[in-house]
Symmetry: C2
Subunit: 485 residues, 2 copies
Amino acid sequence: MGDEATAPEAQIHPVILCGGAGTRLWPLSRRSFPKQFSPLAGAASLLEQTARRLDASGFAPPLTITAEPFRFVVQEQLSAAGVQPAAVLVEPEPRNTAPAVLAAALWLQRTASDGLILVAPSDHAIPDAAAFRAAVAEAVPRARAGDLVAFGIAPSRPETGYGYLEVAEGAAGGGGVRGPIPLKRFVEKPDLHTAREMFESGRFLWNAGIFLFSVEAICAAYRAHAPEMFGAVSRALQDAEPDLGFTRLAASAWAEAEAISIDYAIMEKATGLSAMPYSGKWSDLGDWNAVWQEGEPDGAGNVVSFGASAIDCAGTLLRSEAEGVALVGLGLRDIVAVAMPDAVLVADRGDAQRVKEAVVALKAQGAVQAERFPREHRPWGWFESLVMGERFQVKRITVKPGGSLSLQSHHHRSEHWVVVAGTARVTLGEEVRLVPENESVYIPVGTVHRLENPGKLPLVLIEVQTGAYLGEDDIIRYADEYARR
Amino acid sequence: MGDEATAPEAQIHPVILCGGAGTRLWPLSRRSFPKQFSPLAGAASLLEQTARRLDASGFAPPLTITAEPFRFVVQEQLSAAGVQPAAVLVEPEPRNTAPAVLAAALWLQRTASDGLILVAPSDHAIPDAAAFRAAVAEAVPRARAGDLVAFGIAPSRPETGYGYLEVAEGAAGGGGVRGPIPLKRFVEKPDLHTAREMFESGRFLWNAGIFLFSVEAICAAYRAHAPEMFGAVSRALQDAEPDLGFTRLAASAWAEAEAISIDYAIMEKATGLSAMPYSGKWSDLGDWNAVWQEGEPDGAGNVVSFGASAIDCAGTLLRSEAEGVALVGLGLRDIVAVAMPDAVLVADRGDAQRVKEAVVALKAQGAVQAERFPREHRPWGWFESLVMGERFQVKRITVKPGGSLSLQSHHHRSEHWVVVAGTARVTLGEEVRLVPENESVYIPVGTVHRLENPGKLPLVLIEVQTGAYLGEDDIIRYADEYARR
């Protein structure tokens, strides 16, 4: 939270959009664990970096909106960033950005109706946080005056992957312009020819999907341009249920809200628009080509992560995300190679936008790698499968301090647990015992059991499952402190 | 062994050269487990395919010569091929092919002095075994007459990766020539210009490194052209020690033999040379480009193995050798990508000959992947590390039926064993007990223990090691049925 006290009327309420599940960064980004949760650029995850960037004087605690499966990861990563959110809104299903921003605006209307909203995607790279906050501060007066302010990036190339903001002649020329400027219109992603023309004209900025406006102005805009959505989202929020610190929007009303972006639903129709140019470094990390660009290529144009080696390569991104896997590139030109424990992508960098096709092809083959991340996150920690054999599986399980798995039993498998770090509290039928490092415990088929970490350090255990059926759905839950069904 | 009785004087004694440790097929081929032991082309390993190819009427049991670390793998794979070798000679150190062939010839001189020797590399692909044996049969009369017969492959391209045999005008033109023809000279690997000239002249065959000669003729040739080597290898064989079915050549004498190929030491100097053209399919699988060629590229020129997917690729080899790893190629042109559990190579196919550089670079970084294979083979079976953590390691261990690990203890680690398939006999201090599937046993630090598989099926167990030091060298052996030191 803020590093000095500020008057309540000056507060900017960040709304962190955290429900996206893009696949263009497969195999790093998957439906079950999308890119905002990964340390794609830097040591912390993109969400953590976003939360830290907005954790400063003048900013209220952020409101976060995410999808059901990600709620615990959001909570965990905000906590890792040292940020306590004002609320975490849970979308029953993804409906794109327009309903999400509206839900946040209506939530804020209750408690901060005179506040400003900063819409912040959770999956962008903006390395210079101070410069970004300064730009936000510059935009405040216009937002307070009732304008909808869209942040625009001074373009460095004729990019076809972004939408554009058209501004006045010369205003998009670079770092010279300060303060918000009139915004003529939003332009959709162009073809290369149009992108070149726009780039050369100096009248266009990249649309970063970052907006600043008052609660009052944006609510009025939704009421004017998307009245049906306004009604549906209002009801979804009205009937929302509080649940372990999350606010679950009501599913039936939410489903009535049109799935559409805020650009299409509001910005392209609204009046009173301003653009706030931002000349600092920014990337939406939208595909592997963008990640390569963001990675600051060396003299030969290569970006080579830890665990990878490039021999006589150029224009190439080599990234090993798999513990203990050496990735070597030899004689490559403009190639992207990404190694994960369960999947390897090798693509021409020019085909980065087509990575979705790989995901579609894998899905058609029934490959779990298409959508599932090798490390499965749970509210109590995470696990990963080390080996899946015939009638057995080995997992590594990490339980956070204070974490507790549900009280459960299995029909088809027995489990051997060997504690390799920390201390476990194990419930086995009527008995409860502590199992320290280098001790093991056996869970026979059908026995009701629970695993907890009562300690101050992470608990790591190796689980060996044996049985004829080893699916995650062979579980009967008797009690769960995270209210999972 | 042969499928019909043959007169002893007609016998051909295959000498399978099995000591090579090439790195141009890294990460599949490594110093600790080179390519002849891998199923690089087809379901069986190249050594198994070689042994089966020569297991027919007219062929005596093969003599195999290999390096110390590979002796048990050789024994195991010959057994899998259903072939009982006449002997397995163990080289104390690698000295190239000339001393190896001589050691085999001298060994045969004792028992089959009137026999023929067929020198057979263990790591080539020769899919049509019958055609190959027919070619050998055709060459027998010239070998029996005292010629040294070199097998030559009708070239299909101006290859710079092979040595050549110069023969008479038109003789190398293809499948037309039958029977051995006079061999003018051996030619070293040419540059591309020379290779083109040789290819067009029709007077050159690829030198396959396959030879047929009588024991008498080759011994005479060594005596004439390499008398010092003849003396050294004679002494190495004279002082050889039998050891669990292996014949260990004497190290000090062996070290005196010059490390040189049979081509340089003998063939380039000898007279009475013949070439036996072979027009069937052949590959030395010398680099990934050769593996791609051998793999019969599809219409787009791709060779895509199980577990890999190619989207809009051309001229590309995609190969996943890692259980459960999906390898996807997108928009690639002439790329080789090979995924192993611990290493991934992505190379331009034109740089296939430079893969050694990758190995050198990894070795300089101290990466174990440079030389060690992820699956470690032992006389009793094999193991692989599933995860190496701080103060713990998880291994999967497979013990062959009848296999027995040494009676051992460790100073720094304790071990948890969970049996997931088969039944183990476990010695723990004074106690011996059977541990069936889904049971576990704990081996405290310092306790003398042994693991055996008394059953008829493979024994698979998951071992969880814990301790401050987990190196393979923390082992005290009290007894070992494989006489390892």
